[in-house]
C-alpha cells in the first residue's frame, strides 16, 4: 500500500500518473480550453476588481465567523431548521448518522459536496448500514469505481467514455454504448429511481447566508434541487468558511465563481433555500432540515494571521486548472481530498502533516494559480509557508540545512562555487555542458544537459569591463543573482555594453549574493531573511535610480518577498521597501524607461520566438516589453502557443521532481518547435538552463539565449 508520507512512495505514484496517456491528453486539452473559456467569461468585466471584492468580503466574514454562526443559528431556528456544529470530521459524520438513525433513513442521496468528501461521509454512513448514492454524474461515476475526485468541479475528468461505458454496463446489467449523450441519459434514468426511493438528501453548500439563514447551491445538472426536494429529511454539511453576512456577499462571489470554475457566466442552477418550504410527500411529520456546520480546524485557521486567507477559497478549482504540475499528474497525485494549489495547503490543515509533507513540495512556484485565484489568495506564498511550518515541526532535512548555512555566508557560498568550478573540469565539455551528471543525481535528472560553471564569474570580469559613462542619463545597480554571476556571465556582459551605449552608469555592488529564493523554496525562511538583509545592505538602493536584474525570479523575489521577509526588521524594513520599488527587469528598463528603438540594431531575418518566464509575466506583470524588444532589435517574431506556461524549471523543484519537470519541458519544447523558430529568447537564466539543456539533449536545432544576448548580437557597431 502506497504511503504518501514517504517521498519514495509519493514519487512512485507520480510516476505512474505521468505514464497515463489518456490523462495527459485530457489534461492538455483542458488546460488550453479552460484558459480560453475563462477569458471569454470575464470579457468586458473588471476581473481584478471583482476578485478584490470577493477577497474583501470573505476576509470580513472570516474575521467574524463565530458571530455569523450565532446569527445564522438564531435565524434558522425561527424558520424551523436544526443547526449543529461539528468540531471535526468524525463528529460531523456522527451527527449525520444519528439523524439518519433517528428518522429511520436508510436510503440516502447526495449532491456533490467537497466538505462531505473531506469528512469521508459516504464511508461512514455505509459503515452504519445506509445506502448512499451520489447523484452528480461525475461523483456517481467515481463512487461506483470506489475512487476519490480528481478535480473539485469535474471529479471524473481522469476517466474516458469507454471506462464509463464499461462501468454502466456493470451497473445496469445491460451492454452500454460509448456515446456520451446516451451514457448521460442512462445515468438520468438510473438515478431518478434513487431520488424517488430516498429517505434522506445530503448536500453541501456554496453559501450560508447569516442574516436570513439561507443556503445557496450552485449546480449544472439540477441534482441538488431534487436532493433538497424529494426526501423528507434534508441535511446540509457546510464548512464554517462558507458563512457570509448577506445575499449581496453571495452574489458578489457568484459573479466570479462559475466564470472562474468552468468559464460559465452562471451555472444552470443557483438555488436559494430558506427554511423548510411545504413538503407534499406522504409522512405525518413533514420536512426536517438539519444544517451541520463543520469546524475541522477552520476556527483556528481564521484566527491565524499568516494563514486565515486560506479560508477565502470558494472551491472553484481554477488553481488546478492552470497548474502545470496538475496538468501532468492529475488530481489524485495533486492533493489528498482537496486538489490543486489550495489542495496542497488544505491537506495540511484538514488532513494533517503526514498526508501533506511530500505533497506540499509538489509546487513549481510558477504563480499561475495566484494569478487566477477567485479570491486573490497568495497560494504559492502560503505553500512555502506551510512547507516551512512542516519542517519546523518535523526537523529540517540535511540538504536544506546545509544550503541555508552556505547561503548565509556569501564568502563561503562563492568559495564553494569556485571550488566546484575546478572540481567539474574532468566532466566539463568545451561546449559548456557537463558531460555527465555528478553522482548525487539519479538517472531521472538526465532529461536535460546541465551547464558547467563558468571559468570566470561576472564579478571577476567586472573590474576589466566596467564602462566609464561621462554624463549618465541614469545610474543603476546591477543585481546579478548567482546563476548569471557564476554560470552565464556573458548575459550580464552583454547587458552592460547595451546599457553603457545608452549613457547608463552601471554599478555592480560586490557584496551582493544569491537572492535567497532557493532557500525560501526549500522552506527555510530564516535563511531567506538573512540573505535578504545582506543584499538590502549591499545594494544601497538610495544611491541609484534603478536596480536592474536579468533574472526574473530574482527580480520578483526582491520586489515582492523582501519587503515581507524584512517587514519586522527595525532598520531594514524601510530600506527593503525602497529597494523593492527600484527593482526593474532588464526588458522593462530598456523598453519603458530608456525607450530603445530599432535605430541601434541591425535587422536580421532570424525567426525568433519567446518564452515568458513565470516570474516575469505573472510575478512582475511584464508581458509586452521583451516582445517589443525582440522586434525592435531586428528579429522576426513568431509567438509560440502557451508562451506563458512554465518551462518546468522551478529552481530546486526540478531537482525534487525531475520526471514532472521533464514532462513539462517536453511540452514546452514541442510548442517551440511548432513555431519553426531557430532562436528562442527568454529573460531568466533558470529558464535558459532548462530550455537550452533540454533542446541540447533532444538534439534540436535551436539557439536559446537571454534577451540581452539577442539584443547584443544585432547591435550596430559604434
Amino acid at each position: 500500500m502506497s504511503d504518501r508520507g514517504k517521498m519514495q512512495d509519493y514519487q512512485k505514484e507520480v510516476g505512474s500518473a505521468l505514464g497515463n496517456d489518456f490523462l495527459r491528453d485530457a489534461m492538455d486539452k483542458f488546460a488550453v480550453a479552460y484558459r480560453e473559456a475563462r477569458q471569454r467569461a470575464f470579457e468586458g468585466l473588471d476581473t481584478d476588481r471583482l476578485i478584490d471584492d470577493v477577497a474583501c468580503r470573505k476576509d470580513g466574514a472570516i474575521s467574524r465567523a463565530d458571530q455569523l454562526l450565532e446569527q445564522f443559528k438564531a435565524e434558522a431556528e425561527k424558520k424551523g431548521i436544526v443547526v449543529h456544529l461539528a468540531r471535526d470530521a468524525q463528529h460531523a459524520n456522527e451527527i449525520i448518522a444519528a439523524i439518519a438513525h433517528k428518522t429511520g433513513s436508510q436510503k440516502i442521496i447526495k449532491s456533490k459536496s467537497m466538505t462531505a468528501e473531506e469528512t469521508l461521509l459516504n464511508h461512514y454512513l455505509e459503515h452504519e448500514g445506509c445506502e448512499v448514492t451520489e447523484t452528480d454524474l461525475g461523483e456517481w461515476i467515481i463512487q461506483l469505481r470506489g475512487e476519490g475526485p480528481s478535480h473539485m468541479v469535474m471529479p471524473a475528468i481522469h476517466l474516458s467514455r469507454y471506462q464509463v461505458s464499461d462501468l454502466f454496463t456493470d451497473v445496469t446489467g445491460n451492454k452500454q454504448d460509448d456515446d456520451i449523450e446516451k451514457l448521460v441519459k442512462v445515468a438520468r434514468r438510473e438515478l431518478r429511481r434513487k431520488f424517488v426511493e430516498a429517505d434522506m438528501g445530503v448536500t453541501g453548500a456554496n453559501f450560508a447566508i447569516a442574516d436570513s439563514a439561507t443556503i445557496g447551491l450552485t449546480t449544472n445538472e439540477g441534482n441538488a434541487r431534487l436532493v433538497t426536494t424529494l426526501p423528507r429529511i434534508q441535511v446540509a454539511l457546510i464548512g464554517l468558511d462558507k458563512l457570509v453576512p448577506t445575499v449581496q456577499d453571495a452574489q458578489a462571489i457568484l459573479r466570479v465563481l462559475p466564470r472562474n470554475a468552468t468559464g460559465q457566466s452562471l451555472t444552470s442552477y443557483v438555488t436559494w433555500i430558506t427554511g423548510t418550504a411545504p413538503w407534499k410527500g406522504e409522512h405525518p411529520e413533514g420536512k426536517e432540515f438539519h444544517i451541520v456546520f463543520l469546524d475541522n480546524g477552520r476556527r483556528d485557521l481564521a484566527k491565524d494571521p499568516d494563514f486565515s486567507q486560506v479560508l477565502r477559497c470558494v472551491r472553484c478549482g481554477a488553481c488546478a486548472n492552470v497548474c502545470p504540475v496538475y496538468r501532468m499528474v492529475g488530481g489524485h497525485s495533486m492533493g489528498h481530498i482537496y486538489i490543486g494549489a489550495i489542495g496542497l495547503i488544505l491537506t495540511y490543515f484538514f488532513h494533517g502533516r503526514h498526508q501533506a509533507r511530500n505533497l506540499i513540495q509538489n509546487c513549481i512556484n510558477c504563480g499561475a494559480c495566484k494569478d487566477v485565484c477567485a479570491a486573490g489568495i497568495d497560494l504559492p506564498g502560503i505553500i512555502k509557508q506551510v512547507h516551512a511550518k512542516i519542517l519546523n515541526e518535523e526537523g529540517h532535512p540535511l540538504k536544506s540545512t546545509l544550503l541555508s548555512k552556505v547561503l548565509r555566508s556569501r564568502k563561503l557560498f562563492h568559495t564553494l562555487l569556485r571550488y566546484a568550478q575546478k572540481a567539474q573540469k574532468p566532466v566539463a565539455d568545451s561546449d559548456g555542458y557537463l558531460r555527465h551528471l555528478p553522482h548525487i543525481f539519479s538517472k531521472k535528472h538526465g532529461f536535460r544537459h546541465l551547464p558547467a560553471i563558468a571559468r570566470e564569474p561576472f564579478r571577476d570580469r567586472w573590474p576589466a569591463i566596467r564602462p566609464k559613462v561621462a554624463r549618465p542619463r541614469y545610474r543603476i545597480a546591477l543585481f546579478s543573482g548567482c546563476v548569471q554571476d557564476f554560470v552565464y556571465p556573458e548575459q550580464l556582459s552583454a547587458a552592460v555594453e547595451l546599457l553603457s551605449r545608452q549613457q547608463v552608469e552601471v554599478l555592480f555592488p560586490m557584496e551582493q549574493s544569491c537572492c535567497g529564493l532557493p532557500v525560501q523554496m526549500m522552506g527555510e525562511p530564516a535563511a531567506a531573511r538573512q540573505v535578504a538583509s545582506q543584499n538590502v545592505l549591499a545594494m544601497k538602493a538610495h544611491h541609484v535610480d534603478y536596480i536592474i536584474t536579468l533574472c526574473a525570479s530574482c527580480a520578483s523575489h526582491l520586489k515582492h518577498a523582501y519587503p515581507k521577509l524584512l517587514s519586522k526588521h527595525a532598520s531594514l524594513a524601510s530600506k527593503a521597501r525602497q529597494m523593492a520599488e527600484k527593482v526593474i527587469p532588464f526588458s522593462s528598463f530598456c523598453n519603458d524607461v530608456l525607450k530603445l528603438d530599432a535605430s541601434m540594431f541591425n535587422a536580421s531575418r532570424t525567426q525568433t520566438t519567446f518564452h515568458a518566464p513565470c516570474h516575469l509575466c505573472r510575478g512582475l506583470g511584464v508581458e509586452e516589453a521583451p516582445r517589443d524588444l525582440i522586434r525592435k532589435s531586428g528579429y522576426t517574431f513568431i509567438p509560440a502557443s502557451e508562451e506563458q506556461t512554465c518551462c518546468g524549471f522551478g529552481g530546486t523543484y526540478s531537482a525534487n521532481f525531475p520526471s514532472i519537470s521533464a514532462q513539462i519541458l517536453a511540452k514546452k519544447l514541442d510548442d517551440i518547435r511548432s513555431t519553426g523558430a531557430e532562436l528562442l529568447v527568454t529573460e531568466c537564466p533558470g529558464c535558459i538552463m532548462q530550455l537550452r539543456g533540454g533542446a541540447s539533449k533532444r538534439g534540436m536545432d535551436l539557439n536559446v539565449v537571454h534577451l540581452s544576448e539577442a539584443m547584443h548580437r544585432n547591435l550596430k557597431p559604434k
Binding site: 485530457a26 483542458f30 480550453a33 424558520k79 452528480d136 454524474l137 461525475g138 461515476i141 469535474m154 476517466l159 474516458s160 451497473v171 445496469t172 446489467g173 445491460n174 452500454q176 454504448d177 456520451i180 449523450e181 446516451k182 451514457l183 448521460v184 441519459k185 442512462v186 445515468a187 438520468r188 434514468r189 429511481r193 431520488f195 447566508i209 442574516d211 436570513s212 449544472n220 445538472e221 439540477g222 441534482n223 434541487r225 433538497t228 426536494t229 424529494l230 448577506t246 445575499v247 449581496q248 452574489q251 457568484l254 468552468t262 457566466s265 452562471l266 451555472t267 444552470s268 442552477y269 438555488t271 436559494w272 433555500i273 430558506t274 427554511g275 418550504a277 411545504p278 413538503w279 407534499k280
Partner: protein
Amino acid sequence: MLESTPLHRLFRTKAEAVSAIVKEATGVKDAIAYALDICNQKEACTILPSGCQHNLSEKAQALCDGKPAKLIAAPDLSQPHWEILSAECDKAGIGVIKDGLRNHLGGIDIGITWAQFGIAETGTLVIDSTDEDLRLTTMISEIHIAFLPLSGICESAADIVGSLQSKMKSHSNYLAMVTGASRTADIERVLALGVHGPLEMHIVLIRDEDV
C-alpha cells in the same frame, strides 16, 4: 419584434448562448398556444433522447414504463388561463395537471411555469419555487416552458437581489435562478444537455400578462 430594447435583446442573446429557446407572445393565450404546439410536435418520451429507450436496469425501466402518454403540468397559471390550457389539452388528447407532481416522478413532457424576473447579463430566469408542485414541474419536465413578462427583465442580478433578500428574510422559501437547460460535462468534458433536469428550456417573452 416585441423585445425592442437593447436590454431585451441582451437577454435573448445571453439566454440563447446557454441553449435556451426564446420566443415572443403578445399575451398568455398566445404563449399557451405555443406550448401546445411544442407538445404536439413532441412524441412522448421518444423524440428527446431522455433515456427510456436505452438499456436500463429493471427497476429504472419500471419507472419509465409507469409514465402515461403525454402530460403537461402547469401549476401556477391563473384560473382563466388554466381553463384555456385544459380545454385545448382535452381537444388534443393531452393530459394536464396542476398538482400531484409526486405521482409522476418518472417524468412529464412539458412543464409550464411563470418566471418572475429575467437577468439579461446572464440570460437567467428567477423563479420562486417555494410551492413543491411548481418546483417539481421545473425539475422533472423534459421541456420546461417559462413565461416571462417583458417587464420582469432587468440588467444584472444586483437589480433583483434586494427583492430576493426581503423574501429570504421574511419566511421559508425556495428560490431558483435558472440559466438554460440542465447540463453536464462530466464525461470527457463533452457538453450534454438534460442530466437531472429539463432537456430543453423555452422562454416565452410576454408583453401583456392580461391578454
